[in-house]
Amino acid sequence: MLELVNIFIKGIFIENMIFAYFLGMCSYLAVSKTVKTGVGLGAAVIFVLGITVPVNYLLENYILKEGALSWLGADFAAVDLSFLSFIMFIAIIASMVQLVEMAVEKFSPALYGALGIFLPLIAVNCSILGGALFMQERQYSSIAEATSFGLGSGVGWFLAIVAIAAIREKIKYSNVPAPLRGLGITYIITGLMGIAFMAFMGIEL
């Protein structure tokens, strides 16, 4: 149990998707003009990461990995399909996003109204595929660990986008040099926040 909490906390702070790996930067920069949209996209990312990482974990361990197919019989024990992992992961992500979108639309129109336009965007958010690839690289030992990693990275991403959106709302009132306005200053602030987040580096959990 403690192990799960550790992975969760690690995903939020130490291995933050934005500040440590720059994953999902495109939507992070494009959709962070106001806190409200930032919260919407952040929530959608938590949601999708929490679903796709465990699903991809099952895929990886029961189909793709070398020897993963041995549950089909001894003949399949030597099959290694890991070269297919990119295409399989992305297919799972794209279809899960579509499924989630349809389910949310049917069962919770209010949530759909809030997340609506962000859900399709998420299929191409690098942090989702990045989550799947890191999960594959780090070899988590159970599906619970993979889920907690997915949720943790999602919350870390949420935190980052809400923080930058809040700063951008305030910075409107500052006298930023004209060529730096908008995108430029956002990059620099993100860099400074990244330096701050480096304080968490090296903490062993």
Binding site: L29, G130, E137, I188, G194
Partner: protein, 231 residues
């Protein structure tokens, strides 16, 4: 750095000026993404990889070439089949096309430049979700004929590449005192050898990539004032 790449791009079309293949509009497809609609500094596409793999120039060059290859292939294929893709499932179709091309690139990198491929780690896979590729497929290849699509792919990949290489040159030069692995700071200058020069280790850390890109944007927009945003 910028002017070198720009010249190379501008010269290629000039060779056959009479050809309608390189009409004024098509030339613009090639040159526009280098500055006015640069994917990284203006369209905000393809940032993730641009920041993570710019510690060394060599990695940046390999990454730019990989993106160039995937973009040309992806734009060409999607443009060829654009009339038979049902619009509801177009994202999945595009992802499948791009993912297959990325697998090809990944296997080629593993076969010929294994050390670079190891250093790029998950970022080769992340070319699939590199928004620059999906963005151009969605915005351009789905609505245009194959030839302009190829030009658009080349233009955008070059625009992406020069920023990537510029950032990598700054980071590698100040962070490790070398370019493409060639050391230009004499060993004797280093503090450890009794000199007075120290490498700026901050440059190697990830946040510096963001700040360097921010400064590039600053310079670009100070020069090209029509790109300045309100806030």
């Amino acid at each position: 750095m910028s002017t070198e790449v720009k010249d190379a791009a501008a010269e290629a079309p000039v060779k056959e000026p009479a050809e309608p293949l390189f009409s004024k509009k098509n030339k613009l497809l090639l040159t526009d993404p280098l500055d006015d609609s640069n994917p990284i500094t203006v369209q905000v596409l393809g940032i993730c990889s641009a920041l993570a793999i710019t510690v060394q120039v060599k990695q940046a060059v390999v990454m730019s070439l990989s993106v160039l290859a995937v973009m040309i292939g992806g734009n060409l294929i999607v443009s060829l089949i654009r009339n038979v893709i049902p619009s509801r499932i177009r994202i999945i179709v595009q992802l499948v096309v791009v993912a297959s091309l990325v697998i090809l690139v990944d296997q080629v990198l593993k076969a010929y430049v294994y050390d670079v491929s190891k250093a790029l780690s998950v970022f080769v896979g992340l070319i699939i979700t590199n928004c620059i590729i999906m963005g151009r497929l969605e915005a351009f290849a789905l609505a245009n004929k194959p030839w302009p699509s190829i030009l658009d792919a080349i233009g955008n990949a070059m625009g992406y590449g020069w920023i990537l290489i510029a950032v990598a040159v700054v980071r590698e030069a100040f962070g490790s005192g070398s370019i493409m692995g060639y050391k230009f700071i004499p060993e004797g200058w280093l503090i450890s050898n009794g000199g007075a020069y120290a490498h700026n280790n901050l440059m190697i850390l990830p946040p510096m990539a963001l700040i360097v890109v921010g400064i590039i944007i600053w310079i670009q927009r100070a020069r090209n004032t029509k790109l300045i945003e309100e806030h």
